[in-house]
């Protein structure tokens, strides 16, 4: 092999030619070359900045009611008009980014952590622990996840915190099922059998060999779960089971807008477009991560 390379490129240093690029370098290069991913990141960055600096950017206070200026159509002062309490819809839209992004990140982080931990435990240790965890997963998965989340919020009372807890509680199963399957096959690989043979502890094997291997797939799934959580949270808030009035949240803005559909359709359109743009941006990033991190798709 080495001879061939020298022949093909005699003036190149041998070490440079044969040193393979690491997995993460190839993945990063692929990711950066993906135009959609960059677009997704740019859009998401704008949304994050809007959420963080909402106080500075929003033209009006999103909670300031003005009864002399209700249900106004879009104008120079109020880009997308005002709602039934005279609050500026555009300002509320900007503050809504805060709630939606927070829900997405919190739910995803919560379900990823729990889901991966239980998946690793179930797959690695097997036996009774595995049985208990997987039966629980089977039971939760028999329910439509959105319905189970709705029921949990109904039982514990509608609020933003309960919404996030409920969504986190139903979404971890997705991670557990996936990670367990991966760990089951990883456990039989030669390098892990080898690690065990030289006396590595379970803890060391999990942290040095198992987690790094499941990491790429988990990252992809986690990015999609942010998008899913935002969609689910908007639906629940629309039903009145999430963010409570007067919180500026896209889903509850849509449910407010319903009565004004005839006279102020813009109020029904704008929050939905905001959700769609956010979710599209996250899905762009997720798709690009999948293409970059999944070696089976890399061709």
């Amino acid at each position: 092999m080495a001879e061939n390379i020298v022949e093909l490129a005699p003036d190149v240093e041998l070490t440079e030619v044969i040193r393979p690029k690491s997995f993460s370098v190839i993945a990063a290069q692929q990711f950066i070359r993906n135009g959609r991913a960059l677009l997704g990141i740019a859009v998401l960055l704008v949304l994050v900045l809007a959420a963080v600096f909402a106080d500075q950017i929003a033209p009006y206070d999103p909670y300031k009611t003005n009864y002399t200026n209700v249900k106004q159509p879009p104008s120079a002062e109020h880009v997308i008009g005002t709602d039934e309490l005279g609050r500026d819809s555009f300002s509320r839209l900007i503050y809504g980014a805060r709630v939606s992004l927070m829900i997405g990140v919190v739910v995803s982080a919560f379900s990823t952590t729990i889901g991966v931990a239980l998946g690793v435990v179930a797959g690695f240790f097997g036996g009774k622990v595995d049985m208990v965890i997987m039966r629980l997963v089977d039971i939760i998965m028999s329910f439509p996840l959105l319905v189970l989340a709705i029921a949990l919020v109904a039982v514990f009372g509608p609020s933003l915190n309960n919404l996030m807890a409920a969504l986190g509680f139903v979404y971890w199963v997705v991670f557990t099922r996936l990670v367990r399957g991966m760990v089951l096959s990883l456990r039989e690989t030669e390098y892990i059998v080898g690690a065990r043979a030289i006396g590595a502890t379970d803890f060391a094997i999990i942290f040095n060999h198992i987690l790094p291997n499941v990491f790429p797939v988990v990252v992809v799934l986690a990015s999609f779960s942010v998008a899913e959580a935002i969609l689910a949270a908007a639906a629940l808030s629309y039903l009145g089971l999430g963010a409570q009035p007067p919180t500026a949240e896209w889903g509850s803005m849509l449910s407010n807008a319903k009565e004004l559909m005839r006279i102020l359709p813009v109020m029904s359109i704008a929050p939905g477009v905001a959700i769609m743009i956010t979710v599209l941006a996250i899905n762009f990033i997720g798709d690009a991560l999948r293409d970059a991190l999944d070696p089976t798709l890399r061709h």
Partner: protein, 313 residues
Amino acid sequence: MKKYILRRVILMIPLVFGVTTATFALIHLIPGDPVELMMSNARQLTQEEIHRIREKLGLNDPLPVQYVRYLTNLLKGDMGISVRSRSDVSYEITQRLPDTIILTVTSICLVLVLALPIGILSALKRGTWIDTAAMTFALFGVSIPAFWFGIMLMLIFGLYLDWLPTVGQGKTPIEFARSLILPSVTLSLVLLGLVTRVARSSMLEVLSLDYVRTARAKGLGAKWVNFRHALPNALIPILTIVSGQFAALLGGAVVIEKVFGWPGIGRLAVDAIFARDYLVVTNTVLVFALMVIVVNLATDILYTYIDPRIRFQ
């Protein structure tokens, strides 16, 4: 094959058991005294009255006893009494279940009619503008909130064009069909993007297999190879995904029934939440889970008919 089906049915039993246990737990997680919740609309009760009602409903029994009674009642079809309507919960649910089934089945048909041709065409025309357009369509399909898509349809076809009714359910067959259009189109969006993607990738996968190449090599026409040889095998993963996502479709139905005022069990459950009618809520959730379990079982049995490899295992 009978043995396989029997085994699948037996495997279903612990799952049904687990699901009912979960809904039982859900009922007992509700904070507050069940009697007070039940009587929330009535006058203040004395301690003695509360105690008598508790005794009558068996709420003073130990949990295991209550659990066994809950299960035996369920087997008899007794789900308790709705606080709001004062009628049997099981009656309310069975009254409205057909509407949810009609809505979901119509949506699945729409998904198949739209997603299959688009996905397959996209695979056959891989790399062309058709493929790009189809995949962009699929991407929007998974990124648009379905309930908002419904609101937009309502705005366009209901309010502006005035072609279709936006809320409720028509009484005559024609009115009924017309009122079904917007909710079912909206609900189909829940699966449309995903199924289009799966149809494409599954078709691409089959097209790359050796037997397809052999069929081409022996001179069969492209149409014959694509539709007679490749398509049947490509359909199996699509069936898997549609059945696997049936739960997601039901979840979507809950929200969309509420948007369009469609009188199915999803809307029943949501309305019950705000009336604090907890028995209706938990039992509807249970019915949803049972529907998912039955559909998954039916799909597994269906596989044995369409895929001989499973039959002979």
